[in-house]
Structure formats: structure tokens, C-alpha cells
């Protein structure tokens, strides 16, 4: 009788190995960071101060490359998370910041080359990052509406052209592919 009681358990284990497994392939090898502190948190201001200090800590062409790419990644993830939670105004601001940092990367290649540095590996990394960003931005475009009117309490409403913003971000990345 004891054996019969164990039968469903044994069958369960056997069935486990026959569950059809779906495979997911990453399109870009580039890995984005986890979401950092979000606006509204008391640590967000502190993080922004840290961000400004780090700008000087990461001096040099390669240093600035890493700094700007890291910030661009961070704000892209922040934007995506905020859009997921329907925080469109904040999401839009984060996306603009990500764009700004992404655009600031390129001049560092020119400077690095002028300073005799081999930038080939960094350029590959930059392109991979651009591909990953495009991948994520396309997902964002699918979850937001083209226009959103943000109406905060006791303040005048803001019209957010979300598709326009995302398309602009996409263009900035596509230019570097």
C-alpha cells in the first residue's frame, strides 16, 4: 500500500523530465544592469550626487567611455522599469538622460584614437550595447501609448509624446550600429 501512495510522487518526477522546455535565446550578448534606486527613494538624490562625483573619478578617454555607457545603461533600465509601472513622466526623463549619456560616448573614441589608443574592443562593446538598447527600446515602444497626458494633482497637465521619444532614442542608437 505504501508503494501506491508514492506512485503519484514518482510519476511527478518522471513527468518533470518530459515537460516541453521552451528555449530562449538572447539576441545580444550585452548584459544590462539590474534596476538601481528609483525616483522617490531617499537614496535617489544621493545616487545623483555620486553620479556627478564619479564623472571626475572616471577621467580619461576610456574612463569616460565606461562612465557614460554605465550611466546610459542605468537610465535605460530605469526608464523601462518606470514605463512598466506606468510612471510615464519620470520614465521619459530617464530615457532622455540615457540618450544624453549614450551620445556622450562617441566623442571619447575620437579622443582615444587621437591619443594613440586602440579602440577596436570598445567599439565592439559600444555596438553590442546599442543593439541591446534597441532591443529594450522596441519592447518599451510596445507597452506605451503614442501620446500620454500626464496630469499631476494641482498642476497643469503635460503631454508626453512617448512614441516620438522612443523613436528618437532608437535613432540615436541605430546611428552607431
Amino acid at each position: 500500500m505504501k508503494g501506491i501512495k508514492l506512485l503519484p510522487f514518482a510519476l511527478g518526477i518522471i513527468l518533470f523530465f518530459f515537460i516541453p522546455q521552451s528555449s530562449v535565446f538572447a539576441q545580444s550578448k550585452y548584459v544590462l544592469p539590474y534596476p538601481s534606486v528609483m525616483p522617490g527613494s531617499i537614496f535617489y538624490k544621493f545616487n545623483q550626487v555620486k553620479e556627478q562625483i564619479l564623472r571626475y573619478w572616471y577621467f580619461g578617454d576610456f574612463g569616460q567611455f565606461h562612465y557614460n555607457l554605465r550611466q546610459s545603461d542605468k537610465y535605460l533600465v530605469e526608464a523601462k522599469t518606470l514605463f512598466d509601472y506606468k510612471q510615464y513622466l519620470l520614465g521619459n526623463i530617464a530615457l532622455e538622460k540615457s540618450d544624453g549619456y549614450f551620445e556622450d560616448i562617441y566623442p571619447n573614441f575620437v579622443n582615444a584614437k587621437n591619443n594613440g589608443k586602440n579602440t577596436s574592443e570598445k567599439e565592439i562593446m559600444y555596438k553590442e550595447a546599442a543593439k541591446k538598447h534597441i532591443e529594450e527600446l522596441k519592447k518599451v515602444r510596445n507597452i506605451v501609448s503614442s501620446i500620454f497626458i500626464w496630469t499631476p494633482e494641482n498642476e497643469s497637465p503635460t503631454t508626453l509624446k512617448l512614441w516620438e521619444s522612443v523613436d528618437k532614442s532608437l535613432k540615436i542608437r541605430q546611428k552607431r550600429l
Binding site: W57, Y58, G60, D61, F62, G63, N118, E121
Partner: protein
């Protein structure tokens, strides 16, 4: 004293011996590459053990005949014969110092954020071992390395030897400082073969850290601000001297008599804690040898430090013999390091028993 000649002659041989380890990838010294460390491992281990044993044997007798020797002359010749030794025979740190300096001063990148390996095609990467690590040392050290780096005028060989000369300067200054604090302590530090090999041959920056720490201690009572900044400079070189702070503060505000004993203990604690971070490197012994030098009245302690220094130098043998850091190497290294200490302790114990019975 003939022993002095033997000591200096052995150092000359040791300096020549170091060239057996010229790195194959070090294109700048291609003409001196022999490949002996690949083909004649047993021979090299035998020569190394022989030379080290002679040096420590001489050192033991020199300690016991301090009054008969002209220390200044010996130190001068010691420096002269070791300055041209190949600095990367036992460790490759000097290449890290140079490459880190290059990242900051030539490429103008922050060595704490950028790996040397990121400078694709840089010729120094072929022989720099820690190219995949950001700067390992304190900011003051990195700034200081600008001096030998610029003195090298972009020529690797000149840079290499200006780094050596730079370290020699700190060795001489440390010896001078020890001599100023207590003349009787000088020989034990200056002629310790471990200190000579790790500082004058391998050019480790530990001597720079120790110099500033000793400077801080020297000015402890007379110029407190300078003393504080010296200790801070020392900490900003290699961080280990941060462990001196408690005894330093105690000495600053109280009449602390046995401070050198506690400085030595503090550095010994860091020394034994260091394997938690990486591993027990022989040159870390410079940290406590500098302070045990002042405890010359305790003959047993000095002999113990001498024997332990010898054991530490034996740690190089397993890698030299096998070319491998793994497998039995770590265990054999520890056995070799502890064996002389164990023999010494047993010998001392028997001697004390004999004395009691007599």
C-alpha cells in the same frame, strides 16, 4: 673580516643568478634570455638554496660580530652589487608598478577604474602579470611612481632601472632613519638577506610604506603634524600600516615605553592576516622586520625572525622547481617555510634544557 667578502661575493653571484629568470616575453631583454628556468629547474633551485643559505649564514655571524664591521661600507657595496640585478626573478610586481604608472601618466586614465589589459597592443602587456586588475596600491604610491616613470624618458630599460633606483633611495633613507632612531638596530634590518633581496633586487614598494611609517614614528613626539601626515602617507601606499594606528595614538598621548614591541606585533598580525586577502608573500616580512630590529636585546626573538626570514625565502623553491602554483606547491611552500622555525624552536628548547641541567 672575511665573512663580509663572502657576503658581498654571494650577493654578486645572486645578482648574476637573477638573470636566469629573464622573461621570454620581455623583448627589451631578449639578448639575455636563456630559458634556464624552463630547462634547468633543478640546477636553479640548487643554486638558489645554496646562495640563500650562505647569505643567511653570513648574516647570522655578522649580527654576532657587529662591532668588528664597517656597516656603512657593507651597505654601500650591498646596494652597488644588487642594483643591476634583474628585478623580476622572484616576483613580477615591478612590472605592475611600471604598467600602472603608464596607465596614469602616459594614457592619462584612472588606474583604479581602467585595467591595463584595455590598452590593446601595448608592449608592456606581454610581461605584466596583473594586467587584468585595476591598481592594487594606494594613491600616494601611484603618484610617487611618476618620478621614476618620467625619469625613464619612455625607454623601458631606463624606466625599469629608475624604479630600482627609486626603491634603493627609500632603502637607504629607511636605513638612515633606523640608524638615527637606534644605531644598534641598523644591521639587523639593513643586512637581512630577505630585506636585501625583496627590496634591492625585487624592488617591492613595502620599503616605501615602511619608510613613511618610521618617519611618522621618528617625529612622533617632536613634530606631531608631520608625524601624522607621514603615517597617513605610509597608509596611502599600501594600507597595511593602518594597523599601526592604535599603538601610534597610544604613543602619541602617553609615555608608552615598549612601543616598538607593539608596532612589531601589530605588523606581525597584518602579516599573518594577509593570506586572507591573497597569500603570504615573503616580502611582507619587511613590515615586521623593520620593527623587530629595535628589539635587539631579545636575542631569541631576533634569531627567530632570522630563521623565519630564511624559511620565507625558501617559499620560492616549489614554484622554481615545478613552474606551477597549484597542486602540492602551496603545501610544500608552507612546509619549507615552517621547517627552519621548527628546527630552531626544538634546538632552543634542548639548549634551555641543557642549561637547566648544567
Amino acid at each position: 673580516m672575511r665573512l663580509v667578502y663572502v657576503f658581498i661575493a654571494t650577493l654578486v653571484l645572486f645578482s648574476v643568478f637573477t638573470y636566469a629568470f629573464v622573461d621570454k616575453n620581455l623583448s627589451y631583454l631578449n639578448n639575455l634570455y636563456t630559458g634556464l628556468y624552463f630547462t634547468n629547474r633543478f640546477l636553479l633551485v640548487s643554486i638558489y638554496t645554496f646562495l640563500i643559505s650562505i647569505l643567511f649564514g653570513c648574516f647570522y655571524f655578522l649580527i654576532n660580530h657587529q662591532k668588528k664591521i664597517n656597516l656603512k661600507k657593507i651597505i654601500f657595496f650591498t646596494i652597488t652589487v644588487t642594483i643591476f640585478a634583474y628585478p623580476a626573478a622572484l616576483a613580477f610586481d615591478i612590472f605592475n608598478y611600471i604598467t600602472t604608472a603608464k596607465v596614469l601618466f602616459l594614457y592619462q586614465e584612472n588606474p583604479y577604474t581602467i585595467y591595463p589589459i584595455e590598452f590593446k597592443g601595448d608592449p608592456y602587456l606581454e610581461f605584466t602579470r596583473a594586467a587584468n586588475k585595476t591598481a592594487l596600491y594606494g594613491p600616494f604610491w601611484i603618484i610617487l611612481t611618476g618620478i621614476p616613470y618620467f625619469l625613464g624618458l619612455g625607454n623601458f630599460i631606463v624606466i625599469l632601472f629608475s624604479f630600482k633606483l627609486f626603491i634603493v633611495g627609500f632603502f637607504a633613507s629607511t636605513v638612515f632613519l633606523i640608524n638615527k632612531i637606534d644605531k644598534n638596530a641598523t644591521l639587523f634590518f639593513a643586512l637581512n638577506p630577505l630585506v636585501i633581496i625583496e627590496t634591492l633586487v625585487s624592488s617591492h614598494n613595502d620599503i616605501v610604506m615602511i619608510f613613511f611609517a618610521l618617519l611618522g614614528i621618528y617625529f612622533l613626539k617632536s613634530r606631531k603634524v608631520l608625524s601624522f601626515f607621514s603615517l597617513l602617507a605610509s597608509i596611502m601606499i599600501k594600507f597595511a600600516t593602518v594597523f599601526l594606528i592604535p599603538v601610534f595614538l597610544l604613543s602619541l598621548f602617553t609615555k608608552f615605553r615598549s612601543k616598538y614591541r607593539y608596532f612589531a606585533i601589530s605588523m606581525l598580525v597584518v602579516f599573518f592576516v594577509s593570506p586572507l586577502r591573497e597569500e603570504l608573500y615573503p616580502w611582507y616580512a619587511i613590515w615586521f622586520i623593520a620593527f623587530t630590529a629595535f628589539l635587539y636585546k631579545n636575542k631569541f626573538l631576533q634569531n627567530l625572525v632570522l630563521v623565519f626570514s630564511f624559511g620565507l625565502m625558501l617559499r620560492y623553491i616549489p614554484y622554481m622547481a615545478s613552474g606551477n602554483y597549484f597542486g602540492p606547491t602551496p603545501i610544500i611552500r608552507n612546509i619549507l617555510m615552517l621547517s627552519p622555525v621548527l628546527v630552531f624552536l626544538i634546538y632552543s628548547w634542548f639548549r634551555s634544557l641543557k642549561r637547566k641541567n648544567a
